[in-house]
Structures are given as structure tokens and as C-alpha cells.
Symmetry: none
Subunit: 416 residues, 2 copies
């Protein structure tokens, strides 16, 4: 079943409004196994909108439209869908009554312009809109299904969930091919290198594999198609490929699906009953912010120091004047002393530190922008690792946070 989404609204074509409705609907359709081939946005222009609707109905089985259901003259979606499908417009007295009541509740007379919101292509299944004055509609003709929804997300989303989702589930039925998805999340390897490692897995017959480069991680997205009945085999295929990917990438794989790096690290700290603290320079607090973004992080995260100035590195963390002089603030030595310093201050089991040159300024030949040292201290001792990151300031900072979290993850994996 091939679907597409057409959104109309001049505000979308002026860059005022971000088109979140299309994103929302696309996710819903995908999970039902309905393949969305096109998104099209067009303004409130009858000629262009008619052409777009005509093309969409011609090439797709399912068309969902958002917007253009308002009371004003340039709201034309229903009228043009009717024209393209060669259907008359008919008044729905129930809808008209509900629109009148909408205004009654607001102690206001219904403007005559709103009457048009009660007209629909003949044979429409009408979708009530308890929030606004624009009902939606489902129209089926000649094997094509057109679903007309209002533009505002807070009207469209409940209407979709209450009326459209069950309808689509019925239409696709138990034999429909749906997508069984799994996302494997990887840190510490680039896109091209990853492609090499995965090699022939990139073109398997029974599932598709796609790479998505995120700012500080790579996602491997696996999709196995199946019917509701055969979903067992699909899941088996996903398990096998995931196992193979993990075999090839080892502990570069940090999680899957909804799992996040910081979530994984938090779980590991909890399950091992360990506490951690942070000493941050170049990340300026981002690492602490990451640890604390999830509720319940106070169980394992004691806190930390943002030692952005050398005086704080000395004063609170007890980094030695000598090290700062001899090696500079961005050095293995100072990273170690920062981690040791915060650990002894807080009495946490583990401590992690970041010091680096986030840029754009402050780089030199021997210490270029993106040079970062991450220190890691435990009761067993302390060590620091050197990283060279690339990209603008915020990327370097985010990559440092992710690398620091990954450092903790790897340590916890080897139960150190």
C-alpha cells in the first residue's frame, strides 16, 4: 500500500510554521507498514493544490491531507479533492449542528462563513472535531482512499488517533506487510568505516539496513517486512542480524531502539551500585546535564565541578600548579588530577573529567582545536585518554560528552 501526505498552508511556505504534522503522520503510517513515498507541501493556491492532489491520487493508494479546512475562501482542500475525484459537495447537517454548538459554547453567533466547514465530498465518512470547527473526512473511491485532516496538530492528532488509526488498521488487515524495525546504536566508528565492516549485511534479501549519522553516534536501522502472521520470522531475522552486527562491532555497539548512551550508563551504575562524579572543563556542565536529564539520576550521580578556570582546577579540585605550568590545562596529567580531585572531594566510586580545546579559538599546532583529554578515576587508580575531535565548538563539546559517557560504559562493562 503506497501512501503520501499533502499538507497545505501558506504559513508552511513562509517558514513560519514547522511542518510537524507530516512527521507525526509518517511515523504512524510506517509503524502500520504503510510505505510513505512522498511528502508535498503546497500553499493555499487552488491551481497548484489541485495539481498536487491530482498527481497524488493518481500515483498512490492512500492520500492523507492536512490543512485547508478553515472557513475562509482560500481553504479549498475538500472542494478540490471532490473535484479531482469527480464528487459533488454535500452538506452534513450533524457537522453543521456541532459547529453551531461550538460557537454557542463561546456565546458567539456562528459566522456564515463557517457553514462551508459542514460541506463534504459525497459519500464521505465524517470525522468529528471536538476541539475545532473543522471536521475531517475519509473518502474511498476506485480503490483509492483519501483522508482529509485539519492543519493544527492539536486538532489533527486526536482525530487521527480516534478515527483514522483504527480505520487504517482495518484497511491494511492482518495480511498487510508491516515494518519490523530495530535501531542498533554505535559509538566510535564513522559512516564509511562502518559500511566496510557491515559489508554484505548492507544488501541482505530479507531485511534492509540503513546507516544514519547522528552528531555523536551512528545508528544502524534494520527493517524486516512481514505480515502480522509472519512477524515471528521477521523478528528472528532481526535478532540474527543484530547478533552478527554485535559480533563484528563488539562493544562499539552501546544500545538499541530507545536506549541512549546516558541511559545505558545510568542503568549500569545502578545495577553495580556505583556512584560517579564529574570534573568538567571544555564541556562546561554538559556532562552533568547529561547525567541528570533522566529522573532518578540522583541515585548514582553525586554531582561535580565545572572547573572552567585554572583557579578552580587548583582551588576545588586540587590540580597542582606544577602540572598546569608544565603540561597546560589541556593535558593527560591535568585530566587525571581533575578526575582524582573530584573523586576524593565527593567520595564517589568513579569520577570522570574532561579538558580540551572546544574552539573555534585557542588551538595551536601541538594542541589543535578538538584535542580533548578524558580522565577516569576509580579506587584502583586513574588514567586519561586522548581524543582528537573535529567540527565546530558545539560538536566538539557534544562528542566529548558522548566519549566520556562511553568511557564510563566500557569501564563498567569490564566491571572495573
Amino acid at each position: 500500500m503506497k501512501a503520501e501526505i499533502v499538507s497545505t498552508g501558506t504559513e508552511l511556505l513562509l517558514g513560519e510554521t514547522l511542518n510537524t504534522s507530516t512527521h507525526y503522520l509518517t511515523g504512524k503510517l510506517s509503524s502500520l507498514g504503510i510505505e510513505v513515498d512522498y511528502h508535498t507541501t503546497v500553499g493555499d493556491n487552488s491551481q497548484r493544490l489541485e495539481q498536487v492532489l491530482h498527481k497524488a491520487i493518481e500515483r498512490s493508494d492512500l492520500l492523507i491531507t492536512t490543512g485547508g479546512l478553515g472557513p475562509t475562501a482560500d481553504d479549498l482542500t475538500k472542494e478540490l479533492v471532490a473535484k479531482v475525484l469527480d464528487l459533488k459537495m454535500e452538506k452534513d447537517s450533524v457537522s453543521l449542528e456541532q459547529i453551531k454548538q461550538f460557537f454557542d459554547r463561546r456565546k458567539a453567533p456562528m459566522p456564515s462563513s463557517n457553514e462551508k466547514q459542514a460541506f463534504f465530498p459525497e459519500g464521505s465518512k465524517i470525522l468529528p472535531n471536538p476541539i475545532g470547527t473543522a471536521p475531517g473526512a475519509i473518502i474511498e473511491k476506485g480503490g483509492k482512499t483519501v483522508i482529509i485532516l485539519p492543519g493544527p496538530p492539536f486538532e489533527m492528532e486526536p482525530m487521527f488517533n480516534n478515527y483514522v488509526w483504527p480505520e487504517l488498521a482495518r484497511i491494511v488487515g492482518p495480511n498487510a506487510v508491516r515494518m519490523n524495525e530495530r535501531v542498533i546504536k554505535v559509538f566510535g566508528i564513522g559512516e564509511s568505516a562502518l559500511e566496510k565492516v557491515l559489508d554484505e549485511l548492507m544488501n541482505l534479501p530479507n531485511l534492509t539496513l540503513a546507516l544514519l549519522a547522528k552528531r555523536a553516534e551512528m545508528h544502524i536501522r534494520l527493517v524486516a517486512r512481514s505480515t502480522k502472521i509472519t512477524s515471528g520470522e521477521a523478528l528472528k531475522a532481526l535478532d540474527e542480524v543484530e547478533e552478527e552486527i554485535r559480533r563484528r562491532l563488539g562493544n562499539k555497539v552501546f544500545g538499541r531502539d530507545q536506549e541512549t548512551m546516558v541511559g545505558i550508563v545510568g542503568q549500569a551504575l545502578n545495577s553495580q551500585n556505583l556512584t560517579i562524579s564529574t570534573a568538567e572543563s571544555c564541556t562546561g556542565g554538559l556532562l552533568g546535564a547529561a547525567f541528570t536529564q533522566e529522573p532518578g539520576s540522583s541515585r548514582f550521580y553525586l554531582g561535580g565541578v565545572v572547573s572552567y578556570s585554572n583557579s578552580l582546577k587548583r582551588g576545588i579540585l586540587g590540580v597542582s600548579e606544577e602540572s598546569l605550568k608544565a603540561f597546560g590545562a589541556v593535558s593527560e596529567e591535568v585530566a587525571k588530577e581533575m578526575a582524582e580531585g573530584i573523586r576524593s572531594k565527593t567520595g564517589s566510586n568513579l569520577a570522570i573529567s574532561t579538558t580540551g580545546i572546544a574552539g573555534p579559538d585557542g588551538g595551536s599546532d601541538e594542541k589543535p582545536v578538538g584535542l580533548v583529554y578524558i580522565g577516569f578515576a576509580t579506587s584502583k587508580g586513574v588514567h586519561a585518554q586522548k581524543f582528537q575531535f573535529y567540527g565546530e565548538r558545539e560538536s566538539v563539546r557534544q562528542l566529548t560528552v558522548q566519549a566520556a559517557l562511553n568511557e564510563v560504559r566500557l569501564r563498567l562493562l569490564c566491571k572495573q
Copy 2:
């Protein structure tokens, strides 16, 4: 000049990635007075992408594409644009060199697959990509302009601003109707209250005014249309309305256009030669991260403590056991002691502290989720202010950061 935007990427058609690039580009084109008639998104499917590109080039003067410039086999945008425009693909040795250097910097050999990223339709004006391995291109043929940009926003946006914007400004020329935009940024007042205050300014004849609710601030977007020649009057109109808005809202207005709350605060600290430090509980490092997101923040930001646990509040900040017992960690008393504590530790001129209940758990009747105290310490003394925020955990944290920065801003305005 009629423009459209075509974005390609299967992740967009799976509902994984929200299409922010199209929104970004549309806003930029609108401000140049370039009318965007269509947005189209299509997956990494050569047949569908070719059809979409063909249609777009046929009906529009300007086509901007995003995505499909990667090293993998299904990245086909350049190749298909060349096919539609009947142009050969040519290797650009400069780009190839830059891509090689990209890998050299990472001490990695360039995978042969990346070579295709150095091929462009003949006659392309090539747009360097300092952040990634995918250069962009501008192609002009038969009165049509095609601009090819990478998919990731953090690569696409700088490329657009550095190379495409000036080019487009040249193409539209001085007589094109452009939108003169100004954004007034406000903190501490809600959308409906703001609507009331602005009242008749919402419907002025010579410019449009729109309210955009951001997570922790409100933006008032003013747009006055003009040609390049008449832009003087438009700017005058904007100035007058901005002045009136500032008169009505007073110091609730914190900045405009590209200015950010933290940028404004940083400038004020610099110009007054003041240093600041932070003591964070509920914000967990976000406040420090905000201060340090701009280069050069080390001039005024000394650092701080993330005292997520009471032991750190006591241990490093010297918050008294009595206060923690008597008033609890989320209290005016503790907020004050945190601010005093970090100020005396760091010797900064100013210090700011945050303690609150970010939620979703940990709330009670007398201390509900969203209750936040912000402490502010100077040589003249210390005080704390109480806030009640609403929304989910991350909103409460972001609102707290913004309120803390705003607290500093207001203090600096009154030169305290």
C-alpha cells in the same frame, strides 16, 4: 522568482527525522522575498527522485535540494540533477583533496566510496563543506538555478549562510520585494498576556506581527515588505514598532534577532568586567553549559559546582546541615547558601544558584514539581527568588536556566 525545495532521505519518510532543513531554508528564502511554492520529500529511490527533480526544475526558477550527497550507493542527488539537466559528472580535484584531508586529520585512509563525493555536474560552482565530506554545488542552466546542499542541518546551515545566501541576494537583485524581518525576544510573559499588551500592534497596515512561543521565551516576529530601494522606510517602521514594544514591555524584552539571553548576559558581564560562578542542583550543569556555549566565555565564567547531592552542597559549597534539615534542599535558605558558597569558593564578583524539583517525581503539596529557587550573591549580599514552573522535566530545567540568566541580566541592568 518561483522556488521549491526538494529533500531526500528515507529517514524523513519513515518519520524518524523531522524535516527542519526545509523549514530553515523556507524562512531564509522568504526573507529574501523569494516565493517558495512547493516542498517535496522523497526517499532515496532513484526513479521517484528523478521524477520529482524533473518536475521541480520544469516548474520553478530555483530548486534547492537537501540530502543524498553521502558516499553510499543510494546517495544520488548530484547524479540525478546532472541527468535531468543533461550534464556530465566531473571530478573536482580540489574537493577530492579536501575530502582526503578530512580523513588525514582523522589518521584514517579515505574509503574509495567517498571519492564519489568529489564528483559534480559539469559547470557546478562548488560549495566547500568544512564540517563533513559532502560539498554542495550551485548549477545554473537555461535560466534555472539548482542548489545542492547536504542533509545534516549542522552541515547545511553554515554552507547556506556562507555561500548560498550572498549568491541568492545577487540573483534576486535590488528590485525584488523582500521581507525585512525583526524578532524581538521576550522573557517572563505568556502568549495570551503578550497578545493583550501588544493589542492593536497585532494588526498594523504596514507590517505584520506574529507571536512565536518558544520553550522558555516568547518571540515577536515583525515583517515589513519592501524593495531593496525602499528598505529604508521598512526599517524605520520596524524601529518605531520595536520602540513601542519595548516601551510597553520594559525589561521583559531581553534581545532581538540573533541575540540570545546568555549572549546578552555575557556581553554585560564583559563590559562591566565582572566574573560569575554557578552552583547548580536541579539544572545539573545546564547553566554552566549555557554560559560556556559561546567562545570566550572563560573571560567572565570561572566555573561552578553541580551539587546534585546534599553531601556536595555541604562538602564543597558549605551549605549548613541545619538549613538542609530545617528547610530542605529546595528552599530559599539553601539557594542563598549555595550562591554564597560558590562565590566565596571561586572569588567571583557574582554567583548564581539553582535548586528545585524538576520532576516528574519528588513533588509534594507544599513543594510541587516545578518549584525552583534561584539564589544570587554579590559583594553586597545575597538573595533568592522563588519560581513555580510548569511542564515536563526538561522544560522545568530549561526554564530554570533561562530564569537564572534573566536574573543576572536584570541585576546587571541596574548595575548591581
